[in-house]
């Protein structure tokens, strides 16, 4: 009995994500998507939604029970928003896992590292100064990426210069950079009062969609980011033993670090550009996964995508319903659950660092 369970665990160590966890992840994500689809001012019903979706699958012969208006509500309003939520949540969680692997620091997070604030500044500049141009929405990811890269680079450089690469110094540097970038952003925002409302709504995090446009903008960037992150899970595991040992095991440490940082920052930038600053997803999702499913990044990375997507879809459901018919910014919901969790995590983490 014990021997067989050992053999099984040995197998998972070699094979990465186990089938069991893959199925659980898919079910949770699928369930969350259905809840997201079903909840809203117009009651469509879960069963009807499932049949509506299946009616678009060829050869099944399922007939949709929804009328034209309901179909429009579902396909043009609700589904895009829920799918965007899933993409953004999945991206923030997996980017968080990527940062944690690269910095060997369980507290690293796009929000705490200054990536999100940098992306925020970049996107605010576009909203404030290029809002009239038709390409504003498309420009935001690019500007956000430039800002995010600058934010992470600054946090990393400052963190290193003040105290090696301990857990605490990197986070403090990130918070410092984030405060500075946020101050600049607020300045820009105040100087451009005509767009202040738009910027403000966006900062607090809002999954605002106009049809499938945002999903279409996000998907290519995120696909690239995920491909890189998923491929490097095994090498992130090797980085856990430190740069020098990883190098002695045959890993080109700086190349892996650059690729993963680039991918995580690109993904974060796109997520921030489209949905504003949504905190803590990148830290609580990967950490919860480590607690239950194991610490290998070959497990944490794919599960972060699935559970991160599910988490943000459900957070958005709360944001939409708690103060209905008004809407709560989704960043408020994630911070409400994330901040206490982060406090708990701080208590249990060996702050001495690597």
């Amino acid at each position: 009995m014990i021997a067989s369970s050992r053999a099984r665990r040995g197998l998972t160590a070699a094979a990465g994500l186990s089938l069991g966890w893959a199925v659980i992840g898919a079910l949770v994500l699928g369930g969350a998507l259905l809840v997201g689809f079903a909840v809203g001012p117009v009651d469509l019903g879960v069963g009807a939604i499932v049949r509506e979706i299946l009616s678009h699958v060829p050869f099944l012969g399922v007939k949709s029970p929804l009328d034209d208006t309901e179909q429009a509500i579902f396909w043009q309003l609700r589904a895009p928003r829920v799918v965007l939520g899933a993409l953004v949540g999945a991206m923030l969680a997996s980017a968080g896992a990527g940062y944690q692997g690269v910095f060997r620091n369980p507290l690293a997070d796009p929000y705490l590292l200054g990536a999100a604030a940098g992306a925020g500044l970049g996107a605010t500049l576009v909203i404030a100064y290029a809002n009239d141009s038709g390409a504003s929405r498309e420009l935001r990811p690019l500007a956000a990426f430039v800002g995010a890269t600058a934010g992470v680079a600054a946090a990393y450089a400052i963190g290193r210069s003040v105290g090696g690469r301990t857990t605490a110094s990197l986070i403090l540097a990130g918070v410092t950079v984030a405060s500075f970038l946020t101050a600049v952003q607020t300045f820009v925002q105040q100087r451009n009062t005509d767009t202040v409302q738009q910027v403000y709504a966006w900062i607090l995090g809002q999954l605002e969609t106009s049809g499938w446009r945002e999903v279409a903008i996000a998907l290519p960037y995120m696909a690239v980011s995920w491909a890189v992150l998923l491929v490097h899970g095994r090498l992130l595991d090797v980085l856990a033993v430190g740069d020098e040992e990883a190098a002695s095991l045959g890993v080109s440490v700086s190349r892996v670090r650059l690729l993963v940082l680039g991918a995580a920052t690109l993904g974060t930038a796109v997520a921030v550009a489209l949905s504003g600053l949504i905190a803590f997803v990148g830290i609580i999702v990967p950490h919860a996964i480590r607690l239950v499913a194991g610490t290998s990044y070959r497990v944490v990375m794919p599960l972060s995508i699935m559970f991160g997507g599910a988490f943000l879809v459900l957070a958005d459901v709360l944001a939409r319903t708690v103060t209905s018919p008004a809407e709560l910014p989704i960043g408020v919901v994630t911070a409400f659950f994330g901040a206490p969790f982060f406090a708990l995590l701080l208590r249990t983490t060996r702050v001495a660092g690597p």
Binding site: R9, A13, L235, G242, E245, S248, T295
Partner: protein
């Protein structure tokens, strides 16, 4: 055929020359021990051989210049056991040993059954199969050192570099670890280059010793030729008694300096 060949190799770190024109040949299957006081350059020599620091001069590992080899190719030839390995506390022993397979897994690939087999066999050779599912954070010092050695063995490199492999181990665990290394050497054609603190241990396990001081070679040869009271007094600033026994080998016994002892008594 040499495993490692150094020819007037020098290393500078932050502008300070820490290894100076060192020449050294290590034959296949040999165990060469580097000894010398703190700061003598022992660890730096090992890091240079492992391709982790830049050097001047020549440094060949199995007839190829280390600097010209890819990281992966170096890792297939050389396994390094660092003095203070980073131990991720939540990783299981098997996952940790599996890291040793890194140079054998392709960039996009993942470890397969063969890799897992190599890890299990490495753990088996160190009598550590029962530790496979334990978390590293829960291991004792001796068990941890076995896990680190198992990772190096799973790497299946013909040359192993040991940097102070027995620091922080009690005398029993020390002996166990060194016997394990000696056993591995007897089974295969493993070459070992190690930096060693404990001179008695160095004298008993290594075939050849090289005494370094200030980054230069001071003496090299059979343990009995290098471990002399004069050399140790001059380069370690220690007063010792070297006891040589045809069966038990060499022991270096530290002696309390006379003057100081008298002061304490007086």
């Amino acid at each position: 055929m040499t495993s490692v060949a150094l020819e007037r190799m020098s290393v500078s770190l932050d502008g300070v020359r820490v290894v100076s024109e060192l020449s050294l040949d290590v034959e296949p299957g040999q165990w060469v021990g580097l000894i010398g006081p703190n700061g003598a350059g022992k660890t730096t020599v090992l890091r240079a051989v492992a391709g982790l620091v830049e050097y001047e001069g020549r440094l060949d590992v199995f007839h190829d210049e280390v600097a010209a080899l890819s990281r992966r190719e170096v890792a297939r030839r050389i396994a390094l056991v660092p003095q203070n390995p980073v131990i991720p506390p939540d990783m299981t022993v098997l996952e940790y040993v599996l890291l040793g397979r890194t140079p054998h897994v392709s960039y996009l690939g993942s470890p397969g059954d063969g890799d897992l087999g190599a890890c299990r066999s490495a753990l088996g050779r160190l009598d550590a199969a029962h530790l496979a599912d334990r978390r590293l954070g829960s291991l004792s010092g001796g068990e941890r050192q076995r896990a680190v050695l198992a990772r190096a063995i799973a790497q299946e490199a013909p040359l192993v570099l040991l940097d102070e492999p027995t620091t922080a181990l009690d005398v029993g665990a020390q002996q166990q670890v060194l016997e394990l290394v000696a056993g591995l050497r007897a089974n295969g054609n493993l070459t070992v280059l190690s930096a060693m603190h404990d001179l008695t241990v160095a004298g008993q396990y290594a075939d050849r010793l090289v005494l370094l001081d200030g980054g230069r070679e001071i003496a090299s040869g059979q343990p009995a030729e290098v471990l002399t009271e004069t050399l140790i007094a001059r380069h370690y600033g220690a007063s010792v008694l070297v006891v040589s026994d045809p069966e038990a080998g060499i022991a270096v016994v530290p002696l309390r300096p006379r003057l100081e002892a008298e002061e304490h008594v007086g």
